[in-house]
Symmetry: C2
Subunit: 225 residues, 2 copies
Amino acid sequence: MYTGRYRTAYARDMTEFEKGPRGQRRGRGARERIVSASQQLFRDQGINRTGMNEVCAAAQVSKRTAYQHFASKDELVAEYLRRFDPDVMPGVFDRADLSPRERLLAAFAMPASTPLCPYIAAAVELHDPEHPASQYARDYKTAIAARLTETAREAGARNPEQLGEQLALLIDGAAARTRVLNHDSFPTAAAIAAVLIDNAIPAAPSEQSSDDRRAPGSAPVPIGG
Amino acid sequence: MYTGRYRTAYARDMTEFEKGPRGQRRGRGARERIVSASQQLFRDQGINRTGMNEVCAAAQVSKRTAYQHFASKDELVAEYLRRFDPDVMPGVFDRADLSPRERLLAAFAMPASTPLCPYIAAAVELHDPEHPASQYARDYKTAIAARLTETAREAGARNPEQLGEQLALLIDGAAARTRVLNHDSFPTAAAIAAVLIDNAIPAAPSEQSSDDRRAPGSAPVPIGG
């Protein structure tokens, strides 16, 4: 089941399909149908297990039409990843009702059915850091870390870049482990995040819950050491 | 480059190939060659991108021979994962020169070229928690967490199961993120691990690198808990 964590920008386009004069779907619709079909198939059965024939059948386009829009499957894969909403995780980061600290923790409140990050999946399947899609994957991962860093700064973290990168790694770890174990690992990641956030952000006198204990004298450790 | 983090049990069998009477490789050698070829191909180019034809060519066996040993590619994939050394990460956990606390940290001192955990890769590629290989993946991941838990208990952690599971998640996060970003994320994971270990293990006044320090009353436990 797809829970919408990874929102696709083109989802907004889906209502814009237009019918041609004789009721046939027109060109622009074809391109969107191809991308939409690939999105569902890549997510549900993997990139490498999905052939162009299958995409064409699901999109109701001819192979000729498909190759007019995408010169190769690699191009379609790149477009599939490029289309994920660049405004990362708006359901978390744009919540004005939460404090910055709460928004950082909310990033780990994923439903158990959240699919593996499509960028991790693509990186595994493509096996090629030079693939045109790989740069989109890196960009997205960098964008997530940047939003976490920005929120950590708002929350008053001593070293927001470090906390942002650490929390981004936790999200990826929970996603990967959930996939392998077929068991929700986000609660474990959330517990780690709480420790890191408590260590990185000086607590307001009454804000911290009583069972959050910080080891005296434990200092932040720099990234990359 | 393969650095040997994921040691394969069958690597020890590679010297045991035997020649038949006319210098042809005999049956037992064929099975090992098939598994060995699959191991290299699956790792280097992925499971789904590797066909049985390719495995047969690399292993120098006929397709008929291959299917005598493995009824399907799925069976070969399961065997590939089953063969990874069940004695997980011996280069870390069996180091008598390190204190338990140091062994926990050593689990994050991976070379930058460490490949993505083959179990994460397989889980992504297979897209099927019911695949015969998926249980091996879960078993291995559980075994890693159990060894971390055992070491955490030796080190005197207040809640060793929790710390073990947390550290296991960090390793998976670093592996996944390193793959996507094509940049070593293990130092970030190591920094998080240091914070978690400091929080979970009461620090002795002057201890950092002295020998085995066991909390009073904590006893070694068998793997698999």
